[in-house]
């Protein structure tokens, strides 16, 4: 079995994996990072979205071996200590979650959107999030949360400049 070594949430981790081990299984089973969820088996639901080298990807559609040497951020690593990431805070502020199962993937996907497009339109938000299924919220408050987070983050950037 190949041994892989990667950065996960800022820490170097390594482990033996089978060639066919999915990255989701490595995160959930080997590392105990159960915030990354599995909601389907066809790469359709997006509950498993994480960041690999700064891009959001569906961890169910990547082999653990492919993540060798990569830098991975999961939902557990998004906040800085007790300080929530603005997208996390906005999801709570706007009631952008109900059962919470799709939420980690939805937040990771939205955070990537705002890193690439800091001021998206509603249509751009909806289009970007179309790879993430939510059965509870009807998306209304998720869109609102992303808009709030966008405003928050641009305010932070202006303050920093």
């Amino acid at each position: 079995m190949p041994t892989i070594s990667l950065q996960v949430n800022g820490k170097t981790v390594s482990g033996e994996v089978q060639g066919n081990t999915l990255l989701t299984d490595f995160l959930r089973q080997n590392l105990g990072l159960t915030g990354t969820h599995v909601g389907c088996d066809t790469s359709q639901c997006g509950a498993c979205v994480i960041h690999v080298n700064g891009d959001s990807i569906k961890a169910c559609t990547m082999l653990a071996a492919q993540a060798d040497n990569a830098s991975v951020t999961t939902i557990e690593g998004l906040s800085q200590g007790d300080d929530l990431h603005p997208v996390q805070a906005a999801f709570r502020e706007a009631h952008g979650l109900q059962c919470g199962f799709c939420t980690p993937g939805m937040i990771m996907s939205a955070a990537d959107l705002l890193s690439k497009n800091p001021n998206p339109s509603e249509a751009e938000i909806r289009s970007w999030l179309s790879g993430n299924l939510c059965r509870c919220t009807g998306y209304h408050n998720i869109v609102k949360a992303v808009q709030i987070a966008a405003g928050q983050m641009s305010g932070q950037r202006i303050a920093a400049e």
Partner: protein, 792 residues
């Protein structure tokens, strides 16, 4: 209203763990020494089992055990029980064939579990399952409900004609007479399409047996752990309640599909004793499509009669309801007592008659899915009345208004058994029309026309019955359980409060709303309240969460328990303040002697109850913990009006929802933010049913929509943002909070609003109906069929 109390839009307390990835769902639980179970399921819809050879699988690497239906049968285990007995109109009970945990003798639907393979890893279990030889003699599949009733192949020997029951409600003679003498009769054949619930978290079950104490634990994705304990313990595995713990931790959505006791739960529990190790099963999504109970699947013929003044004088409805291959927990009650009883809707209808035939087919069992019977009833009424408006040449909103039950008619006895306690329907209609800018619609239609697009507007005024329901009533109607709810309020010595509730939260936000009720009643900070749910070892009892019953029934139990706490506190306060208990008032977290400034804080009373040095110990027990069981006095009847506006591209048949407005009367509201969130989610599930979702079986009973690649659910870019108004409304008259329930309204009201809008947009083509789901293909074909028909 305080910032944290009843009526405040308190941000959810449970969110912190979910947004940080710290939620604890059943699949996140791993027990020491656990094994993994893989279910080998029937690949065909209907077959006799000739032989199952498991020998190669038994000796495969890592395999711990392999079980078949014969093993389960030999142990004396019962079948998966049904919780509701419906009686046919001829007085005979419904046909209730056994539903084995693992198939015995026959397989009856694609996905029917046949063999359980248990191994050290899931991969080993899955690999070993491929070594099982299933020798099946295929039988003709029973798929279509109409042909199922015409004989031929039978799903069960006990029901040769595949008829489970033949039920009726209402006055047939009066209804037929009114129809015969009507000035106008609108007729419609309707399909209520089969849906697959698809909570985002797939089902999971972990069984654990402790040989030392002979205790069992089942960890499961359930909306009602006590009901699972009752059904599995008493009817399937003969495990007494005190030896069986059922624990449903964070649950990732349910929508009805996690009410029922499923075979997999029983098997892992049963097997854990046989192998003396924990057994874990996690459904993958493909498995969920063919093993979670499906929803809806009705075919109805409707006739609605009007007098010359356009008043509804009668409604007749004949329905075929698909039960699937076995009777799921609540299945028989859905098309009957949760459906026929809602056929009056918001209207004065002097005569109603409905007949429902429930049919066995070789498909996945069908049971409650968000709304459960009430969406089907609402679709029947609201599609038909909009079609009637088109035929009569009157406005669809005004035809509804004309027929509304008036505020002075409440309590209102419908001709279909139920009594609406309260309601006022015009304000919701008016509000929805205002939100939708209904008055200016024709300008928007003309503007769209100039761009080559077809605009339509659709109205739906729904009513639902929530908070199921008085135990004596449901008992008379066939329920095999009571439908009360229980709550314990445990005041801790330092004045913090733990609430143990039988309601279960799987997205509804009880940890916030129930805490708001406590904070409001006891005058304490919400941060000092903990809401505990989901664990039969912690919570005295409970019937769980479905039918929008949590706040109406569970919340009422909570209020009653709080009242008991407050009353006991008065006696303690009276002793400390040297006054009569009758003179003690409780408000804003303090007990005060009437007309004086002598007062004790709630926290002081709590401490005294547990440190009873200065205490009326001769007449009062120490401690401050109270339990209440609340049995509802009636259903609650939320109502509202939804208006949908669509734009259709006639070139492609694709529909865009350009506006959706909702005005709801939910009675009193605990947390308006959460209530609106429930409406958003329900509406999108309703939009999904109307536009895209459809479980499709081919003639052989193969499920063609078995994954997210084939079964289309709404995504973020399929829907707009909504205009939602929760009205001050009419508080429920028979529960202590005056609440009605809001969880299902969206899924009930949205489908007819969407379809009415589509039909309105297409009326220039002479199209008077489109079946759900109104896919682009269906609309395109309807548009393109019309000119050819005209030419012929």
């Amino acid at each position: 209203m305080t910032a944290q109390g009843i009526g405040a839009a308190v941000k959810r307390r449970e969110d912190f763990r979910f947004i940080k990835g710290d939620g604890k769902y059943t699949d996140d639980i791993n027990l020491p020494n656990q094994t993994y179970c893989y279910f080998l399921r029937s690949p065909v819809a209907h077959a006799a089992i000739r032989n199952i050879d498991i020998s190669a699988a038994q000796s495969a690497p890592g395999v711990v055990a392999v079980f078949t239906g014969a093993d389960v049968d030999a142990s004396g285990a019962g079948g998966v029980p049904c919780g509701w007995l419906v009686t046919s109109r001829d007085g005979n009970p419904m046909k209730e064939p056994k539903h084995p945990i693992l198939a015995v003798g026959k397989v009856r639907h694609v996905g029917d579990p046949v063999v359980a393979v248990i191994a050290e890893t899931l991969e080993q279990a899955r690999n070993a399952s491929e070594l099982v030889q299933m020798d099946l003699d295929e039988l003709p599949a029973v798929v279509n409900m109409k042909s199922a009733l015409q004989g031929g192949s039978s799903v069960h020997e006990e029901a040769a004609d595949n008829l489970c029951f033949d039920w009726e409600l209402g006055d047939q003679a009066a209804t037929d007479a009114a129809l015969a003498g009507a000035a106008h009769v609108t007729k419609l054949d309707l399909v209520n399409n089969r849906l697959i619930p698809n909570a985002m978290e797939p089902r999971v079950a972990i069984g654990q047996y402790a040989p030392g104490t002979e205790d069992y634990t089942l960890y499961t994705t359930s909306q009602n752990p006590h009901v699972i304990r009752l059904l599995m313990g008493a009817f399937v595995l003969s495990i007494p309640e005190h030896k069986l713990r059922v624990y449903a931790p964070d649950v990732g959505g349910g929508f009805g599909s996690k009410i029922y006791h499923y075979a997999e739960e029983a098997l892992v529990t049963w097997a854990s004793k046989h192998i003396r190790r924990p057994v874990k099963w996690t459904s993958d999504r493909s498995e969920a499509f063919m093993s979670d109970a499906h929803g809806r699947d009705h075919l109805s013929h409707v006739e609605m009669a009007f007098d010359a003044d356009n008043r509804i004088i009668a409604l007749k409805c004949e329905t075929l309801a698909n039960m699937g291959a076995y009777l799921s927990t609540f299945a028989p009650c859905i098309p009957t007592w949760l459906h026929g009883t809602l056929l009056a809707g918001q209207y004065v209808t002097p005569a109603i008659y409905t007949n429902v035939k429930a049919v066995f087919t070789n498909t996945v069992p069908v049971d409650a899915y968000r709304g459960a019977g009430r969406p089907e009833a609402t679709y029947i009424l609201e599609r038909t009345i909009s079609k009637a408006a088109q035929e009569l040449g009157v406005d669809q909103a005004e035809l509804r208004r004309k027929n509304f039950i008036q505020p002075n008619q409440f309590p209102y006895q419908t001709p279909v058994a139920v009594v609406y306690d309260t309601g006022d329907y015009e304000p919701a209609l008016n509000k929805a029309m205002e939100l939708a800018d209904y008055a200016a619609f024709e300008q928007r239609r003309a503007e769209a026309k100039s761009r080559g697009k077809l605009r339509g507007i659709g109205v739906a005024s729904y009513i639902e019955a929530c908070g199921i329901a008085p135990s004596s009533l449901v008992g008379a109607l066939g329920a095999r359980a009571g439908l009360y709810e229980a709550a314990t309020v445990r005041v801790n010595p330092t004045g913090s409060v733990s609430v143990l509730t039988g309601s279960h939260s799987h997205g509804q936000g009880h940890e916030t709303t129930f805490a708001q009720v406590v904070a409001d009643k006891l005058g304490i900070d919400i941060g000092n309240v903990d809401i505990v749910h989901g664990d039969t070892d912690k919570i005295p009892f409970g019937m769980g969460t479905y039918g929008s019953r949590s706040i109406a029934v569970g919340g009422s139990a909570l209020v009653n328990a709080l009242d008991k706490v407050i009353e006991k506190g008065k006696k303690i306060a009276a002793h400390l303040l040297e006054a009569s208990a009758d003179d003690i008032e409780f408000a804003n977290g303090a007990y005060t002697v009437k007309g004086t400034d002598k007062s004790k804080a709630f926290g002081d009373i709590a401490l005294t109850a547990y440190v009873p040095h200065q205490y009326p110990i001769e007449t009062l027990e120490p401690g401050l913990e109270e339990t209440a069981f609340y049995d509802p006095k009636n259903f609650t009847y939320p109502a509202g009006t939804y208006i949908c506006e669509v734009e259709i591209d006639p070139q492609t048949g694709s529909t865009q929802i350009v506006s959706f407005s909702a005005a709801d009367d939910f009675g009193n509201v605990i947390n308006p933010m959460i209530v609106e969130g429930q409406v958003h989610g329900g509406v999108v599930q309703g939009v999904g049913q109307a536009l895209m979702e459809n479980a499709v079986y081919d003639d052989n009973g193969q499920l063609l929509t078995g994954s997210y690649m084939d079964y289309t659910m709404p995504r973020a870019d399929d829907v707009p943002s909504f205009k939602v108004a929760t009205l001050a409304g009419t508080p429920c008259t028979h529960n202590p909070l005056g609440v009605k329930g809001c969880g299902e309204a969206g899924a009930i009201g949205a489908p007819p609003a969407v379809i009415n809008a589509i039909v309105d947009a297409l009326k220039e083509y002479g199209i008077d109906h489109i079946d759900m789901p109104a896919t682009p293909e269906k609309i395109w074909r309807a548009i393109n069929a019309q000119p050819r028909m005209a030419a012929e």
